[in-house]
Assembly symmetry: C2
Amino acid sequence: MKKRINLEWTLGWSDSSEKPADMYPCHVPGCAQQDIAEALGYPDFKVGGNYRQFAWMEDKWFHYKASFPKPELRHGESLWFVSEGIDYECTVIVNGVPVVPHHEGMFSRIEADLSGCLKKDNSLTVKIFPHPKRPGAAVGREEASASAKPPVGYGWDWHPRLLTSGIWSDTCLEVRKRHSLDSFDIRYTLNESMDVASINVEWTGDFRSGDTLSLTLEDPSGKTVIKKEAPAFGDFGTIELHDPELWWTHDQGKPSLYKATLSLEGGDAISKTFGFRRIRLVMNEGSPGEGPQFHISEDGNPASLPSFPKTCDKVPAQFELNGRRIFAKGTSWVAPEIFPSAVTAQRCEELVRIAKDTNFNILRCWGGCIVNKDHFFDICDREGILVWQEFPLSCNNYPDDPAYLKVLEQEATAIVLRLRHHPCIALWCGGNELQNNWSGMTVQSLPLRLLDSICLRYSPEIPFNMTSPLYGIGHGGYLFSYDGRDIFQVMNISHFTAYCEAGMPGASPMEVIRKIIPADELRNPGPGGAWEDHHAYKAWDGKDGTWLETGTIEKYLGKPAGVEDLIEKSQLLQSVGYREIYEEARRQKPYCSMVLNWCYDEPWPSAANNSLVVWPAVPKPALKEVREACRPICASARFDRFDHVPGENLDIGLWVLNDSPEPFRESLRIKARLLPGNPSDGEGVEAGEWTSGPLKPGTNAQGPVLSVRIPEGWTGRIFRVILDVPSHPGLSASYTLALRSDRTPEP
Amino acid sequence: MKKRINLEWTLGWSDSSEKPADMYPCHVPGCAQQDIAEALGYPDFKVGGNYRQFAWMEDKWFHYKASFPKPELRHGESLWFVSEGIDYECTVIVNGVPVVPHHEGMFSRIEADLSGCLKKDNSLTVKIFPHPKRPGAAVGREEASASAKPPVGYGWDWHPRLLTSGIWSDTCLEVRKRHSLDSFDIRYTLNESMDVASINVEWTGDFRSGDTLSLTLEDPSGKTVIKKEAPAFGDFGTIELHDPELWWTHDQGKPSLYKATLSLEGGDAISKTFGFRRIRLVMNEGSPGEGPQFHISEDGNPASLPSFPKTCDKVPAQFELNGRRIFAKGTSWVAPEIFPSAVTAQRCEELVRIAKDTNFNILRCWGGCIVNKDHFFDICDREGILVWQEFPLSCNNYPDDPAYLKVLEQEATAIVLRLRHHPCIALWCGGNELQNNWSGMTVQSLPLRLLDSICLRYSPEIPFNMTSPLYGIGHGGYLFSYDGRDIFQVMNISHFTAYCEAGMPGASPMEVIRKIIPADELRNPGPGGAWEDHHAYKAWDGKDGTWLETGTIEKYLGKPAGVEDLIEKSQLLQSVGYREIYEEARRQKPYCSMVLNWCYDEPWPSAANNSLVVWPAVPKPALKEVREACRPICASARFDRFDHVPGENLDIGLWVLNDSPEPFRESLRIKARLLPGNPSDGEGVEAGEWTSGPLKPGTNAQGPVLSVRIPEGWTGRIFRVILDVPSHPGLSASYTLALRSDRTPEP
């Protein structure tokens, strides 16, 4: 059994590893930059350009200090320093003795036996090195390319340059005695028909001969279904469980969880919650036959040569859960706080619940950020949300250098061993955009081969991808229109097995913007000030703002009348764009099997961003549209383009989308009509109707394309298309399209 | 020190694991099928359909038996059974005791201590199981998909159905004493500038305290450059060697070899020959910018959407040797015998020398066959030929099944540990055509992930590919013409980073065919008999014969007048086709970095095949053309098509190809002329000339396209184009094209 001793810490900084001039109160777990800002009475870093106030701390050393009296240690007891995570590189010193001479990496546990260096009164110091920066690298994410520190703090198109460090995870002293159960993990395999689970138990500890361990397994109802004993130096063998309740995502079934407890007679007990499920990535229907042939032509178009047998260079992007192909709908999760220790279980709970309410069944945890603490995965296990977990590599060419590989192996191993038992884990991924031409890694890159081999060794039952995207998978774009093509036109000719980072920028709500943009700048948005600091301008490719995209807004919706109108119009384009992305991806099923947007949340309040939820957890209007688009069953309309002219014909392709595991036996009568944006333009017009037949599980139905004239007289900048499903109003759909009432139709 | 005891073996078969009825003399190492055919006086299996005489043996058990008296064993000595390889699954029994209860896999060593079960007179039995066949699989290669046995014997388009087994590698008894040096391996890394090698030494053995090991390293001239001693239980540390002579392929430099010897004081000594080199696969020039963009259109053509930053989905296919990008020219090696034990060092030597004379610098050892014994790699080390080594998987969907993975891990580990020290090893590859749609493995397949992790663990300095082909690499085709397009037209619009299996069928020489086709069939080639048994008909896709392609021959060269003429015309098409494939691939440098044909040799004499060398080692006429095409420096002509009409204009694109590491400083004057195929048609005509400037190392020069009229009067089926280089006749080139003298040019 372990006795925990918490410590009172103070914090200071210095230019070298020498001791700091002054010490300040601080939090553990916490973040050095945040504590020092608090101690020095800095203003809110989220306002305007205040985040720059941290810049001076970048190359400092941070010193955490605590003192403690020597505790009573009975025979066989020892005192340990234990930390679940220190960001990023440190040394731990007790009474002048370096008990941890050097540790690099924020995701691996740090332990040190202090017994040898204790006095009556003891001083403990954790010295944190300056942030790692690749020598000679340009200021920005490239500085992160030689370390396993998440790169996002080095600056991103939606994240300020703000580097953090500190004792970010649970840290204390532990009195340990001989005779203990230290670790416990439960492993299983399911037979092909998934009605027998073969369970194996792994543990470590310090035992005496004759020690007995007892294992209990409780089913989701709390009933004990397995109770076994084994000698601590022995083995439970392989335990068979028949007809286990399978873990499903919330939209496909019940996320059934089992609880396993291993106890040492008269000693420690450790519990693990887990679920039985089989997750696979399989080839998408239709994709194996694609790809280059024995020869392809210079224009890259195989069709210009006779059809030889084709290679499957596309990768599997179709999730198969418990033998069922499911359509993955979700989003890209980024750290919801800039300071890692500030990411609480409450915040994760709130954000995961919003995701579930949005009909998402998967979260892609993006590789540029921290890997979340256990509470996040516990929530996803419980709520039935899959997690695509990336390692902390993004957009860089991480080197084959042995020193880097050593740290990466330690960090990745710690991550996989900590998380592999969670049924929510659906995919390990090496990281974000690593094989793109702006990063330049390849299948030969040792860091990616190493991550594959670590996942294979410790977690072979979970798929692994070297990076995102891989061939066949769409990644981006991030704008409402490209070279005059709006998002409808782009999606309608896009052809991917999955859309993994489809973005659509939109402004934050006015009440958020009021808090972050100083009053004197509020009314004149533009580059160069707080609006730019908060990513409304020059955040990405520089063209037309980004992320506020004022030019695009004016093109489609006319010149905004003030900031409120600008924000409203920006949010409308984001709502329309995301609705189209999610619905068109679903209409492309089964060839397409997944749609994730870029991005879900954000680490601080932005003025404009691709996010659906503004910091801390404020839904943007687009979220409601995405929820509609992701309903298990719903009516859906396909349009050729966004903007239309009064008097021209509008084509409405009718669909019923069905991702639910149940068949839908009734026929659905769908009535389509047009509504003017301007109530004064009258009632609207009927467009026609269609009655769909019964639906097979997880299968869409495609109906006719209705063609209806947009009344000449209509005014205003928008109009609406309504799909009514009288028998099931919950399946109805409503779309907003742009009206160019200043134009006449082309002859 | 080890004392070797050879055994006298006999061989028998049975229907079950029971003892056989009769025993026959046999060879060890050898092949059971071959020995039994010999014992039963079977006719030559290479003639006609005689290979079917082995069919009855497929599901038999084979029993190798030997008896031996108990040898004198002094104190501390023990007697061992040692085999370097038994094909494929076996059990070893001594005096009724199963000393090796079960072993699967032909590439891993088998050892058993017999000390415990010896009598005065001893009987040793090696029982070999029937060939593994996946239950329910169709007869053919698919039967091999659940085992690590090379699949080619199950039948291929160029290999008869003939399954082999037996004690195929060196096998004996060994008297071992305590106190021995058992294994020795040498590992090194080169610094970035490759002027310092950091050497580490690994060994195993049975030592006494105080034992000393001495290491000597001899440079390529035989001079000892390192001599060190270390305690057997200790370590040499990292030994630095400055300015090592690097190992190069024969066309890029000298294949310098070092010899390291580790000796146990007063005991064993083991030597290893190796070389210092750095081999990498890097992205081809121009390829990172290619590939699908954030969105691609339904026709697969990225150009129809605006250009977003592009992904590098193409894999690296450019070999970089010692920091220099080299153009890889070579061929696909298959086992030169059907019976694995019959592949001798002499045969390998002969074939590798022919490959070197053909200006090849790489051999791709195809995954369907055995992995060669050490002698093959020793020869490639010495001759300066790179080896792309595949594991024994081909064209199947090898399962994620734990039993298969266990055997694969054992076999692959044995292969990598045995071969990794050879400087010739340039690439580990999971196997052939595993991710194509007729096989269906993916990046998620555990066997491929396992092979990657094994290579990463034991041989990280050598690149690894999961299979061949990967995206961007051309693989096939195998015909002179596809849907009316001849090989010139196909190659001219082909666009690949590498051509790894470009085939071109051709008949074997008449003297070979006379030996394999019975006299009564010799004059009427066709399907259904010996010609088909020897792959001249219905061998591949069934269309138009294959591999004799009589229809194609008639189309381009007219109806053959008898067998000799048919063979000559077939060989002409193969010569023309291969010349074009190799030269056009070189003209596509630097985007293209490699060209390998399918295939080099063959395991028995075929009537027609893509091979360049007929069994046992008889060059086909095409080999001379390939040698010309692969000269380090040569003149080269690009043509639009193969067949032409008198009176029409012929375009001749002029090039100088240079793969040599040296600059070529002189200008080269190239004179082009046409020669009639029919001497009676006269002298020929001048086509023009071009003088190229100096050449940079490894860089081609492109000249003008000459256009010249083919004289109306010319007759016959062929004509020639000559590129004379008066100053360097060795760089001249000569091409044969088809003449349609029965036609007139289109207006």
